[in-house]
């Protein structure tokens, strides 16, 4: 292999995620993502681990006092989050690309942080926020084709949205007073 762009051999056809609709590139990785979001929502709101996760996140000291093993919960959460991130890579390879490439993720990890913030850290909100962010990316691509606008505009918009979102969250919690 290897023609300047390093690329692995193609994965076996049986391992490929099937398309949802024939003729479109939309594959079952999307279904997997929705399913994961629902699972995480259930874990977060309906399980002991979810309760412990939220308790540790809100107040570590209070969680320790309540007998929650803080470090263990942090490690469990990190394992879960690492697994989910790996699923994202898996669905890109098995659903879209069909082989492993070096440019598999153009900063998806950082975009994930933005999506999480835009969703106000709600697993179900992540579905909506991710579709919004994806819309901006796809829109920027067609804008760059049609109107010659550099695609980096999409990232500028996302960064601005992220910063304004955290600002807006803060402003809804506090009242501005002059002293």
């Amino acid at each position: 292999m290897g023609m300047g762009w390093p690329k692995s051999a193609r994965i076996i056809p049986e391992a490929k995620l099937p398309r949802i609709v024939d003729g479109l590139r939309l594959h079952w990785g999307f279904g997997l993502a929705i399913f994961s979001a629902i699972c995480i929502w259930i874990i977060q709101t309906r399980s002991t681990l979810g309760y412990e996760m939220r308790a540790v996140g809100l107040n570590k000291d209070a969680a320790t006092f309540a007998g929650i093993p803080v470090n263990l919960v942090i490690v469990k959460t990190a394992l879960l989050s690492g697994g989910l991130a790996a699923l994202a890579g898996f669905s890109e390879v098995a659903g879209l690309k069909g082989s492993l490439t070096l440019d598999l993720s153009p900063g998806f990890g950082y975009t994930g942080i933005i999506v999480a913030m835009l969703a106000l850290l709600n697993p179900l909100g992540v579905i909506v926020a991710a579709l919004f962010v994806a819309g901006i990316f796809v829109g920027a691509d067609s804008m760059s084709r049609a109107a010659d606008v550099p695609t980096y505009l999409a990232d500028i918009m996302l960064a601005t949205a992220l910063l304004l979102m955290v600002l807006a969250i803060m402003l809804t919690r506090f009242r501005v007073v002059r002293d």
Binding site: I113, P150, L153, A159, L162, L163, V166
Partner: protein, 314 residues
Amino acid sequence: MEIIDILFTASFWAAAIRIASPLIFATLGELICERAGVLNLGIEGIMVAGAFAGWMAVYSGTGLWTGVCVAMLVGMLFGLLHSTLTVPFGLSQHVVGLGVTLLATSSTYYAYRLALPEVTSPPKIEAFQPYEIPILSDIPLLGPALFSQTPLTYLAFVLVAVVSVVLYRTPLGLAVRAAGENPAAVAAQGLSVTAIRMGAVMVGSGLMAVGGAFLTMSAFDSFFFEMVNGRGWICIALVVFGSWRPGKALLGAVLFAAFDALQIRVQQTSLGTHIPYQIFLMMPYILSIFALILMSRRAEVPAALMVPFNKGER
């Protein structure tokens, strides 16, 4: 052993110092921010912005030092944005930092595409040339390595001393350190924690931008996408490695750079023909993780790092 031979060549150490220079600037910048209690994850993007701003200024016809100043100003602007959101508004420093990185990186790339729409390979500028310090550069091994560098490298080393003196020997440095350790005490002295923290973040961001500008104006002579390539994140680790002290941070930067310079050279020895080159690329990072684990046990984290301060709150 070929590796031992490499360690005794002047070109190896010259390369190490050259690779260390942008890291020194940016690490000092991050260190100032964190000493005042603000974690600035905008570092990566601010370095990209500085790299472009300095290079663009020189490309449009200003002098090299003016370019450095332009880079610094652009860095300070992003520092102003970061500190406005994190200090008076007290927003999450992680999220704002990553937001600033994304904003600075993407607006830099956007500006680059707008300014030079038709180019395939970026134009070159007259970059800083090495300046051999008389007498000192004649010392064997040490001379060519330390004293035949570009002026920006000398500036980096001078700045380490300046930052140390200001931090530990002046009232201003005391105020900055206190803002990172016990902001309530600073407020009790009648000083403004907000002003100190915002000032520190702006100065620190300016230094980060100069670190970026070193890449386009001294190490290379043009601007490429992805040229900062994670150096900002390394600097965050270097601050921890240096236990929030400028001198130790300098040591860490040179150590990391030496490993980086070493791995390129080891790739070309007989070892390199047997082992995939990616293993060597990993080496500086693996070694810095180990160094971090060893060093961070004794690290003295600023007590109020990442803790927003609201005047009058108890």
